[in-house]
């Protein structure tokens, strides 16, 4: 096991984590309660990001669902598509299933900790070695096999390398938004990082569209997470005139 695998082994999945948060507050799994723990989950996300950034993707997927649920709770007029509604239902069911299944994990844990192992005998123990080749044993066959092993093995290695060349961290984005809001209070300075065409007025106000302008999808997702984080911390106020229109962010 390499270091990466070792770290990954220490994390339960995001479903488990979410359940822990809900049960920690002695709440039932309902849409409303899921909206309640969204902020806590986003907080935990930061921890995952620090310790094992490569797990982040899977946690972000769950975070995105929570945000959808939270948006629905916050904006009663928000109309979700059938797909989205179904997705939320499915997510709720998954959580309920997992909750019901959890004792099974504990049973397994207890059994494994009893150290009541059974022992068997090796194949043909004590039998003398006799040379038994087989018809399909040929040099070419061995060559094909070794090639196959390394093809599969390299594929696996690549899979682990492909994960996000440059990571965008939540913390970075939170700082980015706050800095942007602060900077805009005093107008643009030469040290400003935001040269990508963003415009803002000087009242500590930024538009989400400007923030996300020309950015890749994953960065936009993290920016949105950052936004909700700041909202949860009550560091900012947001305003949206109508559905799908730009979000206006103001410093609180």
């Amino acid at each position: 096991m390499n270091n990466y695998e070792l770290k990954i082994e220490q994390f339960s999945g995001p479903i488990e984590k979410l359940l822990e948060l809900i049960e920690g507050k002695k709440m039932e799994i309902t849409e409303l309660n899921l909206a309640e723990v969204t902020a806590d989950f986003l907080n935990y996300l930061k921890q995952v990001e620090k310790i094992e950034p490569r797990l982040l993707a899977d946690f972000v997927v769950v975070a995105a669902k929570l945000l959808l649920i939270k948006s629905k709770a916050l904006l009663p007029n928000l109309r979700l598509s059938d797909d989205e509604e179904e997705d939320i239902k499915d997510f709720e069911n998954r959580l309920k299933n997992y909750q019901q299944f959890k004792p099974a994990i504990n049973y397994l844990k207890n059994l494994s900790e009893q150290n009541k192992f059974l022992i068997s005998r090796p194949l043909f123990a004590g039998r003398p070695t006799i040379f038994y080749p087989s018809k399909n044993l040929e040099i070419n066959e061995l060559y094909k096999m070794i090639k196959g092993i390394f093809e599969t093995f390299n594929q696996l290695q690549n899979e682990t390398k492909i994960i996000k060349p440059s990571l965008i961290t939540l913390e970075e984005k939170i700082e980015e938004i706050m800095e942007r809001l602060n900077t805009d209070l005093h107008g643009f300075t030469s040290t400003s990082n935001f040269s990508d065409g963003a415009s803002a007025d000087s009242r500590g106000q930024v538009n989400f569209n400007d923030l996300t302008n020309k950015k890749i999808r994953s960065e936009i997702v993290v920016l949105f997470l950052a936004l909700l984080h700041l909202l949860a911390r009550q560091s900012i106020k947001i305003e949206q005139k109508k559905g799908f229109s730009d979000i206006i962010i103001n410093k609180n």
Binding site: M1, Y4, E5, I8, E9, Q10, F11, S12, G13, P14, I15, E16, L18, L55, A57, D58, F59, V61, V62, R94, N97, Y98, Q100, F101, P103, A104, I105, Y107, L108, K109, L111, S112, Q114, N115, K116, F117, L118, I119, S120, R121, P122, L123, F124, A125, R127, L156, E159
Partner: protein, 178 residues
């Protein structure tokens, strides 16, 4: 009658000898082939042997999975036979591997996609580690090419000290949840 009874005893003895020599799990079908008997008879002999082994003065037991059977020591002797326990058994299970192993133990055979779905996280590394430890095994999905199904192994039974997977606490209940 006397004759038949005598014959039955010899056959139980033969099955015991076979399982002892082979060591590894062996299918009921294979046993019936070796002794040239019907599968139902082979099945019966295995059940008789299992019964006999339950006696207090016996140190061995049978474990079962997927129509295969293996002869092992009873769990009570685990501590006295410590030196013979596989290294793979001595390492503790991490939270992620416990979560994954429990899903496969109670709900397997199942695909990685299903496991990922329940855990909400990609499980390929965890599955690889469990495969290497021998606690699960994978088999090709009969319905789909290039997709594997994961299921509990004989080593998992030995690791947990149970004779079949259905012996897991509340097996039926959890099996029906999802």
């Amino acid at each position: 009658m006397q004759q038949d009874n005598q014959q039955l005893k010899a056959d139980i003895a033969a099955v015991e000898a076979l399982l002892f020599v082979y060591g590894e799990p062996i299918s009921i079908k294979k046993i019936s082939g070796i002794f040239k008997i019907d599968q139902t008879i082979a099945d019966n002999l295995i059940k008789e042997l299992e019964e006999k082994l339950k006696a207090d003065n016996r140190g061995l037991m049978l474990i079962f999975s997927n129509n295969q059977v293996q002869l092992t020591t009873k769990p009570d002797f685990s501590s006295i036979l410590e030196n013979f326990i596989k290294e793979e058994f001595k390492e503790n299970l991490t939270p992620a591997s416990l979560e994954t192993l429990a899903l496969i133990a109670y709900l397997g055979p199942m695909s990685r996609v299903q496991i990922d779905y329940y855990r909400g996280v990609n499980s390929s590394f965890i599955l690889r580690n469990l495969l290497i430890r021998g606690l699960i095994e994978r088999l090709p999905n009969p319905q789909k090419n290039n997709i594997y199904l994961y299921q509990p192994s004989f080593d998992l039974l030995k690791y947990l000290g149970i004779s079949k997977i259905e012996e897991l606490p509340e097996y039926d209940k959890f099996k029906s949840i999802i």
